[in-house]
Symmetry: C2
Subunit: 342 residues, 2 copies
């Protein structure tokens, strides 16, 4: 039986993720183990290593896409995977610090199919664990990378954190100020998702001591891929299978301003007008007919346009690669981002 | 008229704080100005530079004790004040990041006599501003200090952040698990307050390229002083004048487990038993008779014991100084901490 190109790419991407997670996991576990109790316990629970009492679980923590991007970027720039492990772990720690805080801000009760940390230990502890993981990320870079590489990586990572804070602020704001246009949404997504994926790739290049134009190209690759990731996430948030995604409810149920919705609302169609009425209702009073809303988003062209914008971002990501021949693994990850269903 | 030693010391300490604030302010303002809006606006409001609309205010931000400790420690170790400014600003940024998060966790609505950021912009923005100030602190160290000094300072500062997270966790826990003993309270205070003050002093020594024993001695000086600071803070929280402290209500009104209370509750006196009954009531139902509670804490010896423990910590701080002759300004700050009334 001949495997299709897409299936082969997807299989390869899966192997890359598994391999990066395997390499990165000991660094992450060592870092989290250095936390005083109960921060260590809560941290390991959040990463899916054990349950709330500390008993080992077979569950895996997330996709570990960002560490894989860091490792593959380093390899694409001629370094070993090992040279980038501290950076990969630091990026994953920052990602998880923001997840912990975002879950509190957004009131999201489920993370990776399990109760979010704040629902188990309370809001203060979830905030403190997030702050501690942020600190840990930087400490991993200081201890795990040689001097100048460390300072360059730290400066980039903290700048990404500030961009993420700004992106999350905008995202929260969209919930109260009503519809935004596609461009404003894209700027938010660049901060919220693009900045850290760009940083993940740039840090791989920094660990490989690549020249500034290469670091910058890797940053662009990651940012564009991050945007595509967010747009596909928005599609999954409406049309994904809850059994596969681990997310219990449609984004539409909480009247989220995701790209398909923003795009649909701006389409000037009759479907847009009906959707706007549904979004205008008080969600605390009326439960949204999410199936009807999804049909309206689709007939207003929101699904198709989001799909097209995601594909455009993947193409822009690949176009940014200065040496595609050495970046086969990054290409496979890019393919995964656009084709994923969770 | 001959000025008393205590008045002269207090005047000198005031001058040191003013001078450190003046030196540090431009670095802080430049850092906060680099934030994207509205994080910049919110940051400047929190520091007291302008009101919520951005109009300049004559108000000053806090005491700036920590930056003064960093600068004076550097000078005591033979460096210029200027060499330690980035570190001083970074410590102050971290201190303010934790204030922003603590105010959310503790539900404290007033900060330095003004509405806390979360009451003006909401909880998500206050959390994001805290996260951004944390990132900014590290970025200031990377850009403002030479390579090896930067990485040493960053490692120390992030370790202090983790200790602070743990201390704040314990402090939150004390509110639900009931009385603790004096030793457990002291461990909490070491994390919550001692760690960052120790770090403030250690970073001054690091900026002066002092040898490890000197850095460690400075850390001990700052930690002991930080404990004294916390204990005096606890005294002010009960017996301070709200007009001077800018804090609206007694710690007793919210049934805080501060050192005078912990100490009183553990005294085995009749006053302790009555106080325990008052602390056992549901604060949501019964408003505490704070004057009566304060009298009970005092008659159970809680006030006197806290005062003695604070003085002991100040003495331990001074004893840690390896070269007291060069540390006159640190001694003046230590005097200020034990004699302050706000």
């Amino acid at each position: 039986m001949v495997e299709s190109t897409s299936a082969a790419t997807s299989r390869r991407a899966g192997e890359i993720l598994t391999s990066a997670r395997k390499l990165c996991d000991p660094v992450l576990r060592e870092a989290v183990s250095s936390l005083p109790e109960p921060l260590r316990l809560m941290g390991g629970y959040h990463f899916g290593w054990w349950d709330a009492e500390g008993a080992a679980t077979p569950r895996q923590a997330g996709k570990a896409l960002r560490p894989a991007l860091t490792v593959c970027s380093a390899v694409a720039c001629g370094a070993t995977a090992r040279a980038a492990l501290a950076a990969a772990a630091a990026v994953e720690l920052v990602h998880n610090f923001t997840l912990l805080h975002d879950d509190v801000m957004d009131g999201d009760q489920v993370r990776r199919g399990r109760p979010a940390v704040w629902t188990v230990w309370g809001i203060p502890d979830a905030l403190l664990l997030g702050d501690a993981l942020h600190a840990l990320a930087i400490r991993v870079l200081v201890t795990g990378l040689p001097g100048r590489t460390a300072t360059a990586a730290i400066a980039r990572l903290e700048s990404a954190v500030i961009e993420m804070c700004h992106g999350q602020h905008q995202d929260c704001r969209f919930r109260t100020v009503g519809p935004v246009d596609v461009e404003e949404y894209a700027r938010m997504a660049m901060g919220k998702t693009g900045a850290l994926m760009g940083c993940a790739c740039a840090l791989g290049a920094v660990c490989a001591r690549a020249d500034p134009p290469t670091v910058s190209a890797m940053d662009t690759f990651g940012r564009e891929l991050g945007m595509a990731f967010q747009f596909v996430d928005d599609l999954i948030g409406i049309w994904g299978d809850p059994e596969i995604t681990g997310k219990p409810a449609s984004d539409l149920a909480r009247q989220a301003m995701s790209l398909p919705v923003v795009s649909a609302l701006g389409s000037g169609t009759a479907a847009a007008a009906e959707l706007a009425t549904m979004y205008g209702r008080d969600p605390a009073i009326d439960s949204m007919d999410t199936a009807r809303a999804a049909a309206l988003v689709e007939s207003a062209g929101g699904r198709e346009r989001t799909r097209r914008l995601a594909e455009r971002r993947v193409r822009a990501a690949i176009a940014a690669l200065t040496d595609p021949a050495s970046a086969a693994d990054l290409m496979a990850l890019a393919g995964l981002v656009s084709d994923r269903n969770h």
